[in-house]
Amino acid sequence: MIICNYCQAQQLDGTIFCTVCGASLIHTQPQRQTTASLNRAASEAAQLVEDEATVLPAPAIATTGPAIVLVVLSSGRRIELPAAPELIIGRKDQQRGFFPDVDFSLDGGYDAGVSRRHARIVRFDNGYMLEDLGSSNGTFLNRQRVPPGQPVQLHHGDEVQFGMLLARFEVSS
């Protein structure tokens, strides 16, 4: 039996796409079917959610300027972004020790084609710029493709799409 990373549904060994949510299960390792392993899987999943629910803890430095938020439209998750000169957006990769500031792994980032280093948000003057970091499936601002390496300005309420993952950028002053 295997357990879907995305929706935690139990699936038969050999299942390629989860029958409940449709996520890819290729390379998901079978679990031994004991209650102990099931409990462990459930608690691991819960832990993961906790780990991922917040982005980096807000740095101690005094925050200047307005707070910015990315809202993931599919899940409704609000990611409050720390005030930093640069925020990397992508998917974490534990094996390679890569941890972006905004990690979309638990929002279905892998399936949505979010690259590990997908894009970044850079602070300038009193505003923010969005830059695609050569992602495989592209970054879109209000449905317009953002050419890699050419930052574009972000405004409150903008729709930002990383691969297929849709989010809204908000500035709360």
Partner: protein, 418 residues
Amino acid sequence: MSKVDLRITPSRSVLPASTEPQLLYALIELSAQSGATKMPRLPLNLCLVIDRSSSMRGERLQQVKQAAMQILDLLGDHESFALVTFNDRAEVVVSAQLARARAEIKRQISAIEAAGGTEMATGLALGVQELQRAMMPRAVHRLLLLTDGRTYGDEGRCVEIARRAQARGIGITALGIGSEWNEDLLETIAARENSRTHYITSASEITKIFTAEVERMHNLFAQDVHVRIALPQQALVRSLDRVRPFIGPLPVIEETDFVWTAALGDWPESDTQALLLEIVVPPLPVGRHTLLRMSLRFRTPGSDSAIQSHEQTLPVVFRDPNEVSDNVDPTVKHWLERLVAYRLQASAWQAAEEGKLEEATRRLQMAGTRLFEAGQVELARTVQEEATRLLRSGQASAEGRKRIKYGTRGLIGREEQS
């Protein structure tokens, strides 16, 4: 001699010898080679049932008339043609007759005018009646329905009439044009063997699609095609779906212990047929096992009652789990990915109807992801846009819904090459 090529590709040809049941997918591809000699052509008994409501006025109706005349020219002197129109009421414009008095028939077609509303059921009933007037033994009976509007209140009757006709061997092609017609109704009407539905996105495609349909009916390679799937003890068929020429579930019945059958209907030679089978495999020891014995039974036109059959088996090797890689066959994965996208969007519409908008959006977005990975980028974007619209406004657009429902099944515009 007619020849069938039956090819079975499993998702994995080496499986881990496990103590648990596991899932195996198999892509079954059927292709037809009628060889040098031309297949005998069965006479066609055709009735067009055309929506002439006021929204058809202009290019749509013009194109339909032109298409009807071209079809008439494709028919031989021993084939039957009829044409029924409907708006608020239905009318036989060309009664069922052999395609001979062509000039007179064309004059009748050219006199059709658009006006009024859309009431489909009576039109369908008259169309079926015309086909029954011209019933010939060993002919192919086909009703070709075209609509651009929503029929109100008589949907149930439409489906009943369609089922009765299909039970009598009349196949139905249900074509929708524009963005106002009821895609759920046309899909339901066509959800039987020998029937199909298609979304015509532009009036300029009408002639091409009408004539292509007649040509398909003119080149039947086999009729009454049945598949029979025999599995080892304790194995199960989880599902069987058609993936080519278009995606859709196939009803499959366990006839005796561990033997399943499904009816595929008639087989136009130009259609490459492909099915995707999901099998639950019981724990088996290390070694070589025959996981599937599949046979295909059919009649060929002109050979009367002689039933031909063709058989193929699927051998699979079971090994120590540590020696088995988890890679899967890319072609099987491609079609499974598209099938999963189709299933996800279908369940998304259902969730939306039940008011579960977030669930619906999630499913649509996952459908988009699957399509994206299957290389259907344009359709993936449409799905993504509708998912966003659904989440924001609580409703998808009429056109987007059709593009997604028909697009995921491969029922829009050009037939795909691959």
